[in-house]
Symmetry: C2
Subunit: 470 residues, 2 copies
């Protein structure tokens, strides 16, 4: 494609078909200086008359790469001047903020940018915020979600339009964007959007997608784009239906949410799943670490028809009480807490990062085959034989009756006695994450000791590397 | 797992939770003699008292591997006798039947088996037919559907229960089944279910899944199983809603089906997509070769609001007429057919097999990098430079005005003139499949000549091998 107008026409058609920009929109372009958002500035400037929109640009200087970051900000200012666009730039120590607020850097950076763009939009009356995500980002996101075991929402990937945000380049490939910039002789900065590309995303982009494209499906990225579109429609319909149902049934008093169990039982599982997730989200604040198995636990509660309770991530307590399903926050300071037969368990993402609320720890899991330097293992790290663990790891808090086989010891002993031997105060014990394998055996008492049963052996093939960040 | 009762208990729990076998079911076990279905006989025989069901087995001898096939049938008879089960065996030349009926062998074999099992069930009053599909089959199916660019239905994979058919082992892995057979000291035949494992399925099983498991997601198969379950629920709800809508709106007179365009326009795209597919299926008989783009073509017709028509695979004609969307079969013998501005186009699956109705040809597409022996190219074969074709290939019939650059010629000429030069009679021309690239350029006039523009060159990296079977 040597004629840049072909690309511009394609973007125009996409914007019109999906009605991305209602007439007279005032659009803030989120500009990193990398190729994707730079192309966005070029193409939307060219189309602004046809689309009947006005533009501005915004850039958040993450201050992660010193002088480089400042040059990105300068580049953005120059580009804005060239197109006579208002330019909003802010510098912020994102790393420091993320650490203070307890987010991983990536998550923190995304939050900071979203907040900054939304603030600028509100202050300066922008009606939409345009982002440079493209078809390759979409394919990578969908695949990562498949690898994580996502449901329909994750499989639909990035939305063309969500709230204030629009993504006009979502149907364009990375190569088409680079070709367009080349044909335009447009300069850009080396992609600082790498800031939010994780290790997994890079591996998917550089290894997995090329493998699939060359050996299985040459049109894979285009196909994933179409699949994502279909699935987004499906998810939006299901989500709307479930939302109506949820609104009609749920009642909230203070921090307690109630759903009538009898009516839930007769509803289709597709809707029931979503209704339960809405309820958990309302009490927990988000759905982080809430997995398929957790929602199934609640369904089990519902079908058992007896009085019972379970506790999901974020100390979300769900109980069946006089025909109602009751969602509340577990009070760990309640006098009878130790007596309640309750537990909060979270599945560990392998590989990946998982947040464990009670201990306020993020666990990072990696798999590797090379040798480990054992001398350097810190208390927040564990290196385990993956194949002796089985197919899942759950994190939870200490429970009365727990047993544990500490590394090097002669056999299993009561965890409570082990705590006493190690002089760990009673009140500190509920804050210590305990990791268990698929059969419920403790494999790591976080910060203290791994189990003899999962230690690295000469015949170990795959090493599971765990690290916690508080 | 050395204790086979663990496996049996797991299967029992699955059967009970999903209510696979209503009390007093009479279940026909589809038995190939391979490990999966053999395990099914062992486990269900053990559980029949607890589940309150009675059993029988059925085996279709495909006669594909001579004496081997007969030994499979003997094995089945012996196993049935061992468990005192009624045994229904039939021999049939499946290959011959598939060829006569115009199916690929795999598709034909599947149809034959389904028909045979259903017949036996009807004659002998079996209420259910149990199949040996397991978690690994499920993972492979879901991945193959992702690679093919499937929608929600395909992503949900194999259903635990569909019509008469139930799959009690769907949550068990291949390894668990083999371990169970080992613990039971049960013999089985080498897996003759390889009969329906295609080249793509083998490649997914042996290459792609191991790559993903070792480098990305060790619990991938289990995750895909859970994902498939969620998506099956979603699809069943959406499909029920769409079916209600379709039943309420569609009206049929003879071979013509009508939907009111105005009401379609206000319906959610998730439902609209399904309603249009139901309508196409009713007229076409199936949904083979009906792709995302085809359904979008009908949506386009609807949103254009003008009078128009399009023709989808299987000569399914859809037109907008006085506020109605009208689905019918295109009559190619109608006197004004050549004048109609209509075309039927089908996207070619690469790699894969695609049926093209007008020419009654199945096209098989493969990609390879090795050298081709040009001396041996037959008229039903073409070897093309994949990278000079772009991202899709469509098949259609000859259209007035078509131009073509035959291999070795000095430039493009009218296809009609080229037909005349080659003395191809006028009435034969509409039956010749014409393959075009994404820009609409003709790349192969099937059975005759490829285009100069897509020939193999010294710098060709990937060769697209096409072959047609009539």
């Amino acid at each position: 494609m040597n004629d840049p107008s072909t690309f511009e026409r394609f973007v125009l058609e996409n914007c019109q078909r999906d009605n991305l920009f209602p007439k007279d929109s005032k659009v803030l372009l989120a500009l990193s200086g990398g190729p994707d958002s730079t192309a966005l500035v070029h193409v939307l400037s060219g189309l602004s008359a046809k689309l009947n929109i006005s533009l501005g640009v915004a850039h958040l200087n993450h201050q992660m790469r010193g002088e480089e970051s400042n040059k990105d900000a300068e580049f953005v200012q120059i580009l804005a001047d060239e197109f006579h666009l208002p330019c909003h730039v802010k510098a912020m120590d994102v790393k420091d903020w993320a650490e203070r607020e307890g987010y991983s850097f990536q998550e923190g950076a995304r939050k900071c940018r979203q907040q900054f763009f939304s603030e600028i939009a509100r202050e300066h009356h922008y009606t939409l915020i345009a982002l440079g995500h493209h078809q390759d980002d979409q394919a990578e996101t969908v695949i990562m979600n498949i690898l994580r075991g996502s449901g329909l929402q994750g499989l639909g990937g990035i939305l063309g339009k969500s709230g204030l945000f629009v993504r006009p380049l979502l149907n364009c490939s990375r190569q088409e964007i680079l070709d367009y910039l080349g044909a335009r002789k447009a300069t850009f900065r080396e992609d600082s959007s790498n800031l939010d590309t994780s290790y997994l995303r890079n591996k998917v982009r550089l290894e997995l997608i090329p493998h699939i494209k060359s050996d299985f499906a040459p049109r894979f990225k285009e196909q994933l784009g179409k699949m994502a579109q279909l699935l987004q429609w499906d998810e939006s319909f299901l989500s709307e239906e479930a939302q109506k149902f949820f609104q009609g049934l749920s009642s909230r008093k203070g921090s307690i949410l109630t759903l009538p169990a009898g009516k839930l039982k007769s509803v289709h599982p597709a809707i029931l799943n979503r209704v339960l997730r809405f309820a958990i989200q309302e009490i927990k604040g988000d759905l982080r670490s809430v997995e398929f198995d957790h929602v199934q636990q609640v369904c089990q509660l519902l079908s058992d028809n007896s009085v019972g309770a379970c506790v999901l991530p974020g100390d979300t307590r769900i109980s069946l009480d006089k025909g109602d399903l009751v969602f509340s926050k577990l009070n760990r300071n309640a006098p009878d807490f130790q007596d309640e037969n309750l537990y909060s368990s979270v599945l560990l993402q392998i590989p990946g990062e998982t947040w464990f609320e009670p201990g306020k720890v993020t666990f990072r899991a990696k798999i590797q085959s090379q040798k480990i330097e054992f001398n350097r293992v810190k208390p927040n790290q564990a290196f385990l034989d993956l194949d002796s663990i089985g197919n899942k790891i759950e994190m939870r808090c200490y429970l009365p009756g727990d047993k544990f086989w500490p590394l090097g010891a002669g056999g299993r002993k009561k965890l409570k006695e082990w705590f006493i031997d190690r002089k760990i105060p009673k009140e500190a014990r509920p804050q210590i994450p305990v990791l268990t394998d698929g059969s419920g055996n403790i494999i790591w008492v976080y910060g203290h000791q791994i189990s003899e049963t999962v230690k690295i052996q000469p015949e170990t093939k795959r090493v599971l590397c765990l690290e916690g960040f508080e």
